[in-house]
C-alpha cells in the first residue's frame, strides 16, 4: 500500500512553474525587474540632458567606456553593464536568492510547504532554480533594454574600446553575450552566499544584506595589495575580468580563473545550504 495520499508524488510537488508564479506575484520581483528595464532609460536621459562633465574617474584605460557610451547601441549596453556590475547586479541577485527561502520562513508559509510535504531538497532546488532564473532574467533585461534603446538612439555601430581595435557589430554582440555569461557566472558567488544565508536565517533582509555586505568586504580586502596572492582566493578578485573580453585577441585567462573561483564558491555555499536545510529544525 502506498504511503502517500492519492495523487501525491514527491517529484511532482512544488512545480517550477508554480514557484515562478509565486515569485512573479511579488512586488519585489516586479520592482527589481522593472528597475532593470528602467535603468538604461535613466542613463540615456542622463546622457541626453547632462552637460559635458570633465571629471576623470580614474578608471585608466577603461574610463574610455564612459566616453564611448554614446558611440552606438553596443557600447551603450556595455556601459550600462559596466556601471551595474559592481553593485546593482550584486544587490539584485542577492535579493532574488537571499529572499526566497527566508521570506517564506518569515511569513510562516515555509512550514506548510514542508508539511505538504515538499521534500526539503526539492523545495531548495526549485527555489534555487527559480531564483537563478530571475537573476538571469534581470541581467538580460538590463542588457536587452540597454541594447535596444541604445541602438534606437545611437545607432548600430561596431563595439569600440581604446584597449583594442574596434570590434565589428556582429562579433560585438557575441562579446557582449560572453561578458553577460561571465558576469552571470561571477554572480553565482553572490547567489550562493545569499542562498546560504537565506537558509540560515528567517530574516529576508538579513540574508540579502549579509550577502551584499560580505561581497563588499571581499572587495575591500581585494584592494589591499599587501595581502598578495591571498587575494586570488577572494570571491571578488576576478569580478572585473570580463573587461579582458573586450581586447583583441580575447583575454580569457582571468575569465577562466574567475569562473573556477565562482563555481567553487557557489558549489560550496549551495552544498552547505542543502546540508543545513535538510537537517535543521524548522522553527519559524
Amino acid at each position: 500500500m502506498s504511503a502517500a495520499a492519492t495523487g501525491y508524488r514527491a517529484t511532482a510537488t512544488m512545480p517550477i512553474l508554480a514557484e515562478v508564479r509565486r515569485q512573479a506575484s511579488r512586488r519585489r520581483t516586479q520592482l527589481a525587474l522593472g528597475f532593470m528595464a528602467l535603468l538604461p532609460v535613466i542613463i540615456l536621459l542622463a546622457f541626453e540632458f547632462g552637460g559635458d562633465g570633465d571629471d576623470d574617474n580614474g578608471g585608466g584605460a577603461f574610463a574610455s567606456l564612459v566616453d564611448l557610451a554614446t558611440s552606438g547601441g553596443l557600447n551603450f549596453a556595455l556601459f550600462s553593464i559596466f556601471v551595474s556590475a559592481g553593485f546593482l547586479l550584486v544587490v539584485v541577485v542577492a535579493l532574488f536568492c537571499g529572499d526566497t527561502v527566508a521570506s517564506e520562513a518569515s511569513w510562516g508559509s515555509l512550514r506548510y510547504l514542508l508539511a505538504v510535504p515538499v521534500p526539503r531538497a526539492r523545495l531548495l532546488g526549485v527555489k534555487l532554480i527559480v531564483a537563478l532564473g530571475y537573476s538571469l532574467l534581470a541581467l538580460l533585461t538590463l542588457a536587452g533594454t540597454a541594447l535596444l534603446i541604445g541602438t534606437l538612439r545611437y545607432g548600430w555601430h561596431p563595439l569600440g574600446s581604446t584597449v583594442a581595435a574596434e570590434i565589428p557589430a556582429g562579433e560585438g554582440v557575441l562579446r557582449l553575450l560572453a561578458i553577460l555569461g561571465y558576469l552571470a557566472v561571477v554572480l553565482l558567488v553572490v547567489a550562493g552566499l545569499a542562498f546560504l544565508l537565506s537558509v540560515l536565517t528567517d530574516a529576508a533582509l538579513g540574508a540579502v544584506g549579509g550577502a551584499v555586505l560580505l561581497w563588499i568586504l571581499s572587495g575591500i580586502l581585494d584592494q589591499i595589495t599587501a595581502l598578495g596572492s591571498i587575494r586570488n582566493f577572494l570571491p571578488t578578485h576576478y569580478s572585473d575580468a570580463w573587461l579582458g573580453l573586450l581586447s583583441t585577441p580575447v583575454q580569457t585567462d582571468d575569465v577562466v580563473k574567475g569562473a573556477i573561483s565562482a563555481v567553487c564558491y557557489a558549489t560550496v555555499f549551495w552544498a552547505l545550504a542543502f546540508y543545513r536545510f535538510t537537517r535543521k529544525d524548522i522553527t519559524s
Binding site: 502506498s2 504511503a3 502517500a4 495520499a5 492519492t6 495523487g7 501525491y8 508524488r9 514527491a10 510537488t13 512544488m14 512545480p15 508554480a18 508564479r21 509565486r22 511579488r26 585608466g60 584605460a61 577603461f62 511569513w107 508559509s109 512550514r111 506548510y112 510547504l113 514542508l114 508539511a115 505538504v116 510535504p117 521534500p119 531538497a121 584597449v163 581595435a165 544565508l197 536565517t201 549579509g210 580586502l221 591571498i230 582566493f233 575580468a241 570580463w242 573587461l243 579582458g244 573586450l246 581586447s247 583583441t248 585577441p249 583575454q251 580569457t252 585567462d253 582571468d254 577562466v256 580563473k257 569562473a259 573556477i260 563555481v263 558549489t267 537537517r279 529544525d281 524548522i282 522553527t283
Partner: protein, 892 residues
C-alpha cells in the same frame, strides 16, 4: 552565523599571510677583499652574499650581477629563486657601489671584470661548489644591464665561465649613447643625454668616504670622459676608446660560453639592436646563442607576468643544461611577445608569447612594404632643443601603459608627417623597419629623429615602446631636390598594425631625451614612399594559463558527478521511505511512541509523550503554555527531528518529507500566508505546491468551512487574526486529509465561530478520519474532543476518552459555615481525605460515600452547607498540573 563565517575567513587570510616562509637555502654575507686592477695587486673590498642550498652535496654556482646603481640586494629575488633551484648563488655589490670599496670603472676589464675573476677563484675554493678542475668552478654568469655586460666581458676574458645569461645589456656603449640610425654614415650619432645623465647621477652617490662633488665614486678617467661628452655632445678619441673598452663588441669572438641573450622591446637605452649585435658576434665563432625578447626593459620594467615567467623559464633551462648539465638541451627557437591589451584586473599590460624556429635578426622572416605620401616639408630646429618633442620618459620605468599610450608628442613646426593609406591586412611587425630619408640643411648638417607611428582609425597615434631613430647627417645640400636618400633603420619593434590602421613616418627636429644643436635652423625633409616593415609569423606559445581551462572543466565535471551521486542516493532513500514500517499500525492515523525532544541548548521541550489517535476520534492535546504541545505537533509535521522515539502515521514513521505527510492536514503555530495574495489565491498556491490534481482539493468545502464570504478575494495581509485563522483551517482541510492536526484552532475566533468550529471538527472525524487538536483551554477540549491527552512539563499526566476523564470524580468541594466542626464530622465518616480550601471551603475525597449522606451528617451536626460542587476528573488533572502555582502555567 554569517558574521562568524566572515570572521573566520579574515582570520585565516591574516594567519596565512603571517606564516613564516620555508626556505630551502641559507645566505651568508661576507666582505671579500680581492686583488685587482691592471697589475692585479690593488686590493678592493667587495660586499658579497652567498646563497647555498640547504641540502645536497656539491652544487653548480651562479654569479649574479646587478644593474647600474644597484647593490647585491637588488637581485635578491632572482638569487633566491636560483638558490631554490639548487644553485650556489654569489651576489656582490660591484666596486664603486653600495658598501663595496673602489671606484666605478664602467666594467673595465682591469677592474670590474678582474674582480669577477677573483670571485670565480673564491667560488672554486668553496667546499660546496662543484668544480671542473682545480680552481675552475662550474659556474654560470647572469646579470641585467650593467651585470649583463659584465657577464659578456667576463666570459670573453675568463674561459672558466660555463654559460652566461646577459639581460637588457649593451653591445657597444658608444653606439648606445651616441645612436646613429642612418646607414653608411660614420658620423657619431646624437647624444642620449637623459639616459647618460641618469647613469652618471646614479654613480655620483658617495656614502661617506670620498666626496668629490663632480665625480662622486666614478674613476677619474670615466668621470672626465662623461663630463667631456655631455658638454660637447660628441665623443673625442679618449672617450671613444674608454666606451669601447667597456663594451663587449670587440671581444665577442672570445666568448665560448653558451649565451642566452634576453633583451627588452620597451628599452630606449639598450634597444633590441644591441642584443642583435651581441648575438651575431658570439654566434660568428660557433658558440651556441639563443635570443629572447620580452615586453619590458629599461623603460618597460620587468614586463607582464607571462613574460617574466618565460624569461625565468628560459634562464633556468639554459643554466640547467649548460651549467648544471642535467637538463635537456634548450631548443634554438627565438621567443618574443607582443602586447595584446591591458589586463582588466591590474591595468597592466597583457602580452602574448610567440616563437620562431630560429632567430631571424632584425630583418624578420618576411617583409611588408607600405607606401607613405607627403611632399618635402620644412621643419625648424628649436634653439637648445627647447621646446622639445617627447617620446620616452627615461628612468621613470615600469610606466609601461603610459609609454605605449599617448605620452609621445610632436611639436608643430618641428616635425614632418608622412602617412600611408589604411593597411588592408594586419601587419605583424617583428624587427627594425627601414625608411629612406632625404634632408636639406642651410648649414650642411642636420640632427633629425625618425619615428614610426601606428595610427588607429580614430586618429590616435601610438609610438611603439617610445622608440625613435636619431640620425645626424652631414654634407647635406641646401635644396632637398639635390639631397641623396639615406636609409634609416628604425628601432626594432614588435607590433601588430591592425587592418584599417595607418603607418605614419614622422621626422622631427627635437627630442627631450637627446642633445640637439643649440642654433635655430630650418631643415627640409622628405621621406621616400617605400617603407619596409620586417614581419614574422610566430607560433603562439601555449600559455601555461591554459591549464586553468582544464581545471575548470575538471571542476565542472566533479560537480556534475557529485550531483549525480547525491541524486542517486536521495532517490534510493526516498524509495525506502515508501515502505510501511510498522504493519500493525497501518490503520491507525497516529501513534506517538516515547517521543522526546531536547534542543541544542539543553532545553528539553518534550520529556516523554506516548499517545494514539484512532480513526473517528477527535483527540485533544491539553496542556498549559509551554507544556510541549507545539513541539510535539512540529515533530508530527516533520518540521523538527525528535531526539528519541517516533511518530507513526498509518504505520509510517514520520521523518521530514515523509510522503505519508500528504495524508495529514495541519495548522501549526498560526497561519502562514503570502501577504500579497488573496485568501483564495493562497489556497490555490498552496494546492499547486502539493502537485496533486486540483479536483482533489475540494476548495468549495474548505471555503465553506472558512466562511470568509467575499473576503477570500482580499489580500491576506488585510485579514483580521480570526479570518487568517479560519483560512488556515480551511487550508489544512484541503483535500480532506485523513488526519487533521490543529494547533489552538479557536485562537482568535469569536464564540459563535468557536461553536461552529466544534461542529465542523466533530463532523470531520467521521468516515474514518481523525482529528488532533491542541489547546490550553479545558472547556474547548471538553466540548470538542472525544479523547483527551493532558500534558504538562513535557509529560503525559492523563489520557483517555473525555467522558472517562470528565466523569465524576470521587471528590467534592463543600462550602460550610464552620470548617472546624465540619472536619470533625467528616472524620467520623468513611472518607479518604479532607483538605481545607479557602476560608470556608473543604475538598473531600468521598471514597464512595454518597454525597447525600455527607450533607445529611453535616446538617445533623449543625453545620450549615452553602454549596456542594462535584468535581470532575479532567479538572482535577488539569489543576493538579497548575497546582497552587500562582503563575498558573507550565512555564519551566
Amino acid at each position: 552565523m554569517a558574521g562568524s563565517v566572515a570572521l573566520v575567513l579574515v582570520a585565516a587570510l591574516v594567519g596565512w599571510a603571517a606564516l613564516p616562509e620555508r626556505r630551502s637555502w641559507t645566505a651568508t654575507d661576507q666582505r671579500l677583499t680581492v686583488l685587482s686592477g691592471p697589475s692585479g695587486t690593488e686590493p678592493v673590498a667587495l660586499d658579497t652574499r652567498l646563497y647555498l642550498p640547504s641540502d645536497g652535496g656539491k652544487v653548480p654556482a651562479v654569479l649574479l650581477g646587478h644593474g647600474f646603481g644597484g647593490t647585491k640586494n637588488s637581485v635578491r629575488d632572482d638569487a633566491e629563486s636560483l638558490a631554490d633551484r639548487g644553485y650556489a648563488v654569489l651576489t656582490w655589490t660591484a666596486r664603486g657601489f653600495g658598501a663595496s670599496g673602489g671606484e666605478i670603472h664602467l666594467n673595465s676589464p682591469d677592474y670590474e671584470v678582474r674582480d669577477a675573476q677573483r670571485l670565480l677563484d673564491w667560488l672554486a675554493a668553496q667546499p660546496r661548489v662543484r668544480t671542473d678542475a682545480a680552481g675552475d668552478p662550474r659556474v654560470g654568469v647572469v646579470g641585467g644591464s650593467y651585470g649583463g655586460a659584465l657577464a659578456l666581458l667576463l666570459a670573453a676574458q675568463d674561459p672558466r665561465v660555463d654559460a652566461i645569461v646577459p639581460l637588457i645589456t649593451w653591445n657597444d656603449l658608444g653606439r648606445a649613447f651616441f645612436p646613429q640610425s642612418a646607414a653608411e654614415v660614420t658620423t657619431p650619432g646624437v647624444f642620449k643625454k637623459n639616459w647618460a645623465g641618469l647613469f652618471f647621477g646614479s654613480g655620483a652617490e658617495s656614502p661617506g668616504g670620498r666626496t668629490d662633488p663632480a665625480c662622486g665614486r666614478f674613476a677619474a678617467d670615466v668621470c672626465a670622459a662623461y663630463l667631456k661628452m655631455a658638454t660637447t655632445g660628441t665623443p673625442d678619441a679618449a672617450t671613444t676608446a674608454l666606451l669601447q673598452r667597456s663594451s663587449p663588441a670587440p671581444v665577442l669572438n672570445r666568448i665560448k660560453a653558451p649565451t642566452l641573450l634576453i633583451q627588452g622591446a620597451v628599452d630606449t637605452l639598450f634597444p633590441l639592436s644591441e642584443a642583435d649585435a651581441n648575438a651575431k658576434g658570439i654566434a660568428a665563432t660557433g658558440t651556441p646563442v639563443r635570443v629572447a625578447w620580452f615586453t619590458g626593459g629599461h623603460d618597460g620594467g620587468s614586463g607582464p607576468q607571462t613574460d617574466q615567467d618565460r624569461t625565468k623559464f628560459l634562464t633556468a633551462q639554459w643554466l640547467d643544461h649548460y651549467v648544471s648539465r642535467d637538463g635537456a638541451a634548450p631548443e634554438n627557437s627565438f621567443t618574443y611577445s607582443r602586447v595584446a591589451g591591458f589586463s582588466a584586473l591590474d591595468r597592466g599590460l597583457v602580452t602574448n608569447g610567440y616563437s620562431d624556429p630560429a632567430y631571424p635578426g632584425l630583418t624578420g622572416t618576411g617583409r611588408a612594404d607600405v607606401t607613405v605620401r607627403g611632399a618635402a616639408q620644412p621643419i625648424a630646429n628649436p634653439p637648445n632643443g627647447n621646446p622639445g618633442g617627447l617620446s620616452s620618459l627615461p628612468g621613470v620605468g615600469g610606466q609601461l601603459s603610459s609609454l605605449l599610450g599617448s605620452v609621445a608628442g610632436d611639436l608643430p613646426g618641428q616635425h614632418a608627417q608622412f602617412d600611408s593609406a589604411p593597411v588592408a591586412d594586419a601587419i605583424e611587425v617583428v624587427g627594425a623597419p627601414t625608411v629612406r630619408l632625404r634632408a636639406a640643411s642651410p648649414t650642411g648638417s642636420a640632427t633629425l629623429f625618425v619615428k614610426l607611428y601606428d595610427v588607429d582609425p580614430n586618429g590616435t597615434a601610438t609610438l611603439s615602446g617610445g622608440l625613435i631613430a636619431p640620425v645626424r647627417l652631414t654634407g647635406l645640400p641646401t635644396d632637398v631636390a639635390a639631397a641623396r636618400p639615406v636609409t634609416v633603420t628604425l628601432p626594432a619593434i614588435v607590433r601588430r598594425i591592425d587592418a584599417g590602421h595607418l603607418v605614419r613616418v614622422t621626422v622631427a627636429t627635437s627630442d627631450q631625451a637627446f642633445l640637439t644643436p643649440p642654433d635655430p635652423v630650418t631643415y627640409t625633409v622628405a621621406v621616400e614612399p617605400a617603407v619596409t616593415l620586417p614581419t614574422a609569423v610566430g607560433t603562439p606559445i601555449a600559455n601555461p594559463q591554459v591549464v586553468w581551462r582544464y581545471v575548470l572543466l575538471a571542476v565542472l565535471g566533479l560537480i556534475v558527478a557529485g550531483l549525480v551521486v547525491v541524486l542517486i542516493v536521495r532517490r534510493r532513500r526516498l524509495r525506502r521511505q515508501d515502505a510501511p514500517t510498522v504493519d500493525e499500525y497501518a490503520e491507525t492515523p497516529l501513534v506517538v511512541r516515547g517521543l522526546r525532544k531536547a534542543y541544542g541548548d539543553g532545553f528539553v521541550a518534550v520529556e516523554r509523550v506516548d499517545f494514539t489517535v484512532e480513526r473517528g476520534q477527535v483527540v485533544g492535546l491539553l496542556g498549559p503554555n509551554g507544556a510541549g504541545k507545539t513541539t510535539t505537533l512540529r515533530v508530527l509535521m516533520g518540521l523538527t527531528m525528535p531526539t528519541e522515539g517516533d511518530a507513526l502515521v498509518f504505520g509510517h514513521r514520520l521523518e521530514p518529507g515523509s510522503p505519508v505527510l500528504s495524508r495529514v492536514g495541519a495548522l501549526v503555530e498560526g497561519p502562514g500566508f503570502l501577504p500579497h495574495l488573496t485568501g483564495l489565491q493562497n489556497l490555490h498556491a498552496y494546492w499547486q505546491a502539493t502537485g496533486r490534481p486540483a479536483a482533489d482539493a475540494r476548495f468549495d468545502e474548505a471555503l465553506e468551512i472558512a466562511g470568509l464570504g467575499d473576503s477570500v478575494h482580499r489580500r491576506t495581509k488585510n485579514y483580521s487574526h480570526g479570518m487568517r485563522q479560519r483560512l488556515a483551517i480551511a487550508q489544512a482541510m484541503l483535500g480532506l486529509p485523513e488526519l487533521l492536526v490543529l494547533d489552538e484552532p479557536t485562537d482568535g475566533l469569536d464564540p459563535p465561530q468557536i461553536a461552529e468550529m466544534r461542529r465542523v471538527l466533530k463532523r470531520y472525524a467521521t468516515d474514518g478520519r481523525a482529528v488532533l487538536v491542541s489547546s490550553h483551554l479545558l472547556a474547548e477540549v471538553e466540548q470538542t474532543c472525544t479523547h483527551a491527552v493532558v500534558v504538562n512539563k513535557g509529560r503525559i499526566v492523563a489520557a483517555g476518552p473525555v467522558e472517562d476523564i470528565v466523569g465524576e470524580s470521587p471528590s467534592v468541594q463543600l462550602d460550610v459555615s464552620d470548617v472546624a466542626a465540619a472536619e470533625q464530622v467528616l472524620a467520623g465518616l468513611n472518607v479518604r481525605s479532607v483538605t481545607p480550601e479557602g476560608a470556608t471551603g473543604l475538598i473531600v475525597d468521598m471514597n464512595g460515600t454518597p454525597r447525600t449522606e455527607v450533607v445529611a451528617s453535616l446538617v445533623r451536626a449543625g453545620v450549615g452547607v452553602d454549596r456542594v460542587v462535584p468535581r470532575r476528573r479532567l479538572e482535577d488533572a488539569f489543576l493538579a498540573l497548575v497546582g497552587d502555582n500562582s503563575r498558573g502555567s507550565g512555564d519551566r
